[in-house]
């Protein structure tokens, strides 16, 4: 055996061990979700799947409005993603390709908003939502997130490198106005960046916890993450039920991720290396 082969085997082995450790919590979750609470509490713990998954799931559906929360989360994630993609790409395109008075100052302000911690605004935001009458309303989750500095900053970098000026010049010659140039010329070119920003926004909106926890006060109108935390609090004595709910809550997003993973992972890397 050559040294390089040995290194390769060792490396491969370590990677496999690492992957097993990384995936173990998912397995453990599935084990707990398919067993009864007393099985979970035995020592040493039961490490194999049980046969109680459907009992546990039935109890979850009886205990919380799972599909209602799922629907809310889908609404929030989709609406946020569509708005972010539109507003961010439009602003990014403008910043990257147009010159107008105050552009640099405005962009500087945009960058400065990065350092403002979100919790600084959380208390007054709650009062604002109260004034607008949005407390407990999905709008309170969607509207403030509809455009963000990160997306604009990231897309601007992408626009600058991916959109040749000649293309825009040609569009102008053809008589395209500003918005038409954006819609017909820039957007198609930006599609890979949009896909990445879209998945990224969708995942963050889906998993958002602190703000929904504060603002979604109506216990029968929750997002999935808050419903999960409530399930945890209300039915804490039935551990296998909590675990079945947890499993259900992570599955939809895992499926979305597995479908889009190749593209997403590639772009995560590209974003970091270029940015």
């Amino acid at each position: 055996m050559t040294p390089s082969l040995r290194v390769k085997l060792l490396g491969g082995g370590l990677l496999a061990v690492g992957a097993v450790i990384t995936l173990f919590p998912y397995y453990w979750l599935a084990v707990m979700a398919t067993n009864t609470t007393s099985d979970i509490f035995t020592t040493p713990p039961k490490l194999t799947f049980g046969s109680h998954l459907f009992d546990n799931l039935a109890e979850v559906f009886a205990s919380i409005d799972f599909f209602g929360s799922l629907l809310n989360t889908v609404i929030v994630a989709v609406a946020t993603t569509v708005l972010v993609l539109f507003f961010d790409s439009l602003a990014a395109f403008t910043f990257a390709k147009y010159r107008f008075p105050g552009r640099n100052v405005l962009f500087g302000i945009l960058l400065a908003t990065f350092v403002v911690p979100t919790q600084l605004a959380a208390i007054p935001q709650f009062s604002i939502m109260a004034t607008l009458g949005w407390v407990g309303d999905l709008k309170a989750l969607i509207i403030p997130a509809a455009a963000n500095a990160f997306g604009i900053f990231w897309m601007r970098q992408y626009c600058a490198s991916a959109l040749p000026d000649e293309l825009l010049e040609a569009a102008r010659m053809d008589g395209c106005g500003f918005f038409r140039t954006y819609w017909n010329v820039a957007l198609p070119v930006l599609r890979p960046a949009l896909a990445f920003l879209g998945i990224f926004t969708f995942i963050s909106a889906w998993n958002d916890y602190l703000w929904p926890l504060i603002i979604m006060v109506d216990s029968r109108n929750l997002t999935l993450q808050v419903a999960l935390s409530q399930l945890n609090g209300v039915y804490g004595t039935d551990y296998s039920l909590v675990m079945a709910g947890t499993l259900l809550a992570i599955l939809p997003l895992l499926v979305v991720f597995l479908i889009g993973s190749r593209h997403f992972i590639k772009n995560i890397a590209a974003g970091a290396v270029k940015g």
Binding site: T43, F87, A130, G136, V217, D218, S219, V234, G236
Partner: protein, 424 residues
């Protein structure tokens, strides 16, 4: 310029969407009378019956559980999605400052029912200026819960009367525990230092503040409870389970109940439901007896009506029906919350033998404790102050912190708390 109009249209649309929010309802479900409660806070069967009985008024109970306080404060400051009725816990005094957010139940005719309830409980729901903010739900008489089978296995007294006699004082209880643990290594007499402190305080008529708003936590009752908790730790009698304050935070404890690591606990009656639900396999192995150190009360809840409730009188009808002495007996039988109406103590429903406790009539044990409770004054800061002490006891127990330092830190945390609240 078609593009311009299209863009303008889009921008205008987005703005309109953003700004023209229709006001959300003041109460959680308009046209209905919502009640927020928590798991095992009220009997599901009684709530179901109420939902049918008061269907005309739109009675609509919603389980909000451990988030209730946070959600209630949030809705009150947001002025939206408020429940019409809500359960309040033993921190009710903390709401007295915002009493105008609630209906004074005396104006609904609560006075005529006053005689049916324990006077000290009624007092606890009344603000200093005499508004009745919370209608009495349950009380928290303390008792000793213990594993009859394991006590017997260790060759120790195991029948309720014998155990009660053997653990008359906390000192007796600890001595008993040391012997017990020698016979049953790897198991613990009691949950944690916090329990000892909390239930010692539950037996004291003087708590943390006096009616003049002076801090009295430096005095004998608190010091006694503190020393007692430390002594339990020093003797190695406490398991020190991790408890993060929420129901799931107690999973270690649930596991310990299931596998018999926790031999006994001093607790109020309201924990009965949690034990039954989380350790169903131990049914029949538990017994109850008088708590070491005598009667005490820990916890107990109320129901209040918020000021946004459009039909306070109808809501009051529901509340007084839900909490009538007869129904209190049913709450007790179903979820273990002990009545605040003495007539319910002797109600046949409440006095059903409980197979989970080997056929004991549990209401008699708790009833004895409830009758011995002395009235006490609770300030709005009592829960927070108590948390300052128990947080430090956890530090001593789990992290080996120096007890002297822990006491000093607890005191300075309390000073800061009172300073922030504008009391000092």
């Amino acid at each position: 310029m078609t593009a311009l109009t299209r863009r303008r249209f889009l921008a205008a649309g987005a703005l309109a969407f953003a700004l023209a929010g229709c006001a959300s309802p003041r109460t959680a479900s308009p046209g209905k009378l919502t009640l927020w409660y928590w798991t095992r806070g009220l009997s599901p069967a009684v709530l179901d019956e109420a939902a049918v009985r008061f269907a005309g008024a739109g009675f609509d109970p919603a389980n909000v559980s451990h988030d209730l306080r946070h959600k209630l404060l949030a809705t009150m400051s947001g002025g939206a999605y408020l429940p019409d009725m809500t359960m309040l816990n033993d921190d009710i005094a903390g709401y007295f400052g915002d009493a105008d957010q609630f209906v004074d139940l005396n104006t609904m005719g609560a006075q005529r029912l006053r005689g049916d309830y324990l006077p000290w409980k009624w007092e606890a729901g009344t603000t200093p200026d005499g508004r009745l903010l919370g209608f009495p739900v349950d009380t928290g008489p303390a008792a000793l819960f213990y594993r009859h089978d394991l006590f017997a296995q260790a060759g120790m007294p195991s029948e309720p009367d014998d155990v009660a006699r053997a653990v008359a004082t906390w000192e007796d209880y600890f001595a008993f525990g040391e012997e017990l643990q020698r016979a049953l290594p790897g198991r613990y007499l009691i949950t944690d230092a916090k329990t000892v402190f909390t239930y010692s305080m539950a037996q004291e008529p003087r708590k943390y503040m006096d009616r003049q708003g002076r801090f009295i936590g430096d005095e004998e009752p608190v010091r006694r409870a503190w020393e007692r908790a430390l002594s339990a730790v020093r003797k190695g009698l406490t398991a020190g389970y991790f408890d993060n304050g929420s129901t799931t935070g107690s999973v270690d404890r649930h596991a310990a109940w299931t596998n018999g690591t926790e031999l006994s606990l001093v607790n109020a009656s309201w924990i009965t439901g949690e034990i039954k639900e989380s350790a169903p396999t131990t049914a029949g192995a538990w017994r109850l007896c008088r708590s070491p150190g005598g009667p005490g009360n820990q916890g107990g809840s109320f129901i209040a009506i918020t000021r946004y409730c459009p039909q306070p009188q109808a809501a009051f009808e529901i509340v007084s029906w839900l909490l009538s002495p007869t129904n209190q007996a049913r709450h007790y039988a179903d979820v273990g919350i002990f009545p605040s109406a003495p007539a319910a103590f002797t109600d046949v429903t409440a006095r059903q033998p409980d197979p989970f406790f080997g056929g004991q009539i549990t209401a008699d044990v708790f009833g004895e404790s409830a009758k011995g409770v002395q009235p006490a004054y609770f300030s709005p800061w009592d829960i927070d102050i108590s948390n300052c002490f128990t947080d430090e006891l956890v530090n001593v127990e789990s992290a080996g912190k120096d007890p002297q330092q822990a006491w000093r830190d607890a005191r300075s945390a309390i000073d800061r708390l009172l300073q922030r609240s504008g009391v000092l």
